[in-house]
């Protein structure tokens, strides 16, 4: 095993309080990508 994720980064990744805010941020960001709509590509590459 090679430690590729630093201790501070790991703390950030697994800390429930930080991650709670990350959860909200991620949910919003994903909603924006998903709800950002979809469409065709053929007319004027819209």
């Amino acid at each position: 095993m090679t430690q590729r994720i630093s201790k501070s980064k790991r703390f950030y990744m697994m800390n429930p309080i930080i991650q709670f805010f990350k959860f909200i941020w991620l949910s919003i960001k994903i909603m924006l990508v998903v709800a950002g709509g979809h469409g065709g590509t053929r007319k004027a590459n819209n």
Partner: protein, 484 residues
């Protein structure tokens, strides 16, 4: 009055049925034909495969729900397509064969005004010699019963490891043209975490084997994504996670034969190699179901409907990778020969792969087939339903469009289960099929909308989606507010 027949009750078939029923008045009939009595939320099979969820947490029976919602349901398999009818049955129909109960084996012709083929893929284990879930120590997590079976075998191995056994675990793709690398990626990370939870991690060698040229290809040619303040390739992100977890990898491997505890494969260099294992989970090739179609004179017209999967409004002209274009991808999922037939989700034939095709020195094609994950399956099903509703209501043309080249996808890959110890790799991609003209400097994707995150929040999100999508699938109050 119109009759809409939906073949398949997976993500796309069920989404289409639910939206059609909600938006169409009672005079129109919505009929679902599917062989499985249950709806299953396939993404959570990963957790069934590590024993952290029971299969009854990811499924529910369809018949009572459909009865309540006034959706007709026949537990049967479609066998042949007759889009012009024939001498006996004047209108378009499909032939179905019942699979259960007193009617088991009975054949019936089901007529339709509109047909939605949402039969997904055939899990083509037979394309790899010896690959058959539950035999030769190789398993699958593609269905809940496969996943349960996989967990029993893994649990057994963990118990042996607790007694001191050293074990090799092999997870990845079981065919040179497999897709769905994402599911195998989730499973290997979940298995690795479970080994740590059971304090047997040191006794296990965990190996990723895949037909990908690079880690993190996922059948999408990889993605360039923002990760915090950095811009990273998905290959670098996956490499970081694998190295950190002590997972080894074998790439460019076309698995072609499975024997008891041995996977034989060919590499892109043309070498024939093998890897031994004590437990393997290998995703099979996905193929079309091999359906046949006939015209009104009973002449075979299969090539008008199928090219493996169902033909839709894609550009199927054969061309080299360099000439592939995002415009090749379908927008409405309508069959060009029979305008009342549609194929959303995995059921449509893609125009070509997304990942660069690669051939071994022996001429074997070893590269991922294009994935079609749950989100695009749901979105394409909904837009097909909306176009059918518009047509029934007299609107001309198909106005709802959704090319994979103009659609984002979120892939929340579970990297371990647990409210405090869990983890997820959340990746969003926009668009799914890279548009190199629009985003020439960022490998065809829009940065900002293509990002990655790793951590506990990813696990919570995946779990939240599990509950949200099962709520939605059960058509509970305001289910339609939850996006596909």
């Amino acid at each position: 009055m119109s009759k809409i027949v939906i073949l398949g009750a997976g993500i796309s078939g069920h989404v289409a049925a639910a939206h059609l029923r909600r938006k169409l008045s009672k005079e129109h009939e919505v009929l679902v034909v599917s062989p499985n009595s249950n709806y299953q939320w396939i993404p959570s099979n990963i957790w069934v495969g590590i024993g952290r969820m029971k299969s009854d947490q990811i499924l529910f029976p369809l018949a009572p729900l459909y009865k309540k919602k006034n959706i007709s349901f026949k537990q049967a398999l479609v066998t042949t397509f007759h889009p012009e009818g024939d001498a006996e049955t004047k209108s378009a129909y499909v032939k179905i064969k019942y699979v259960t109960g007193e009617e088991k084996g009975k054949i019936e012709n089901i007529t339709y005004d509109y047909l939605i083929n949402a039969t997904g893929p055939k899990l083509a284990f037979d394309m790899t010699e010896g690959l058959n879930p539950g035999t030769n120590k190789a398993y699958s997590v593609c269905t809940y019963s496969h996943a349960e079976h996989a967990w029993h075998a893994l649990d057994d191995l963990i118990q042996q490891m607790k007694q001191g056994k050293k074990a090799k675990i092999l997870i990845g793709t079981g065919h040179a043209k497999s897709t769905c690398q994402g599911a195998a990626f989730e499973y290997i990370l979940n298995v690795e975490q479970e080994l740590r939870r059971h304090n047997v991690r040191d006794q296990a060698e965990v190996i990723w084997i895949a037909n990908e040229f690079q880690l993190g290809d996922f059948g999408m040619d990889g993605v360039l994504l923002s990760y915090g303040d950095n811009i990273m390739k998905s290959s670098e992100m996956v490499e970081m996670v694998f190295e950190d977890r002590g997972i080894k990898w074998i790439l460019g491997a076309g698995v072609n034969k499975i024997e008891d505890g041995i996977a034989h494969y060919e590499t892109l260099d043309g070498e024939y190699k093998s890897e031994t294992y004590d437990f393997a989970m290998l995703i099979p090739a996905f193929s079309g179901h091999g359906f046949k179609a006939f015209d009104k004179n009973n002449e075979d017209i299969t090539e008008k409907l199928f090219k493996g999967f169902m033909l839709v409004d894609a550009d199927y002209t054969a061309k080299p990778y360099e000439e592939w274009s995002v415009q090749d991808w379908p927008e409405t999922y309508q069959n060009p020969s029979y305008k009342n037939i549609f194929a959303p989700g995995i059921a449509f034939a893609p125009p070509h792969a997304i990942s660069k095709p690669r051939v071994s020195k022996n001429g074997t094609s070893i590269s991922p087939a294009p994935p079609r994950t749950g989100m695009p399956s749901g979105i394409t099903a909904k837009l097909v339903a909306d176009n059918i509703i518009d047509t029934i209501n007299g609107k001309k043309g198909l106005h709802h469009k959704g090319s994979l080249g103009n659609m984002g996808a979120a892939c929340i890959a579970s990297a371990g289960y647990g409210m405090t110890k869990g983890s997820g790799v959340s990746i969003t991609t926009y668009p799914i099929v890279p548009d190199y003209n629009k985003y020439p400097d960022t490998q065809g994707r829009k940065l900002g909308k293509t990002f990655g995150e790793i951590g506990l929040a990813g696990h919570w999100l995946k779990l939240a989606l599990h509950y949200a999508f099962i709520y939605k699938a059960k058509m509970k109050p305001f289910w339609w507010l939850i996006p596909e």
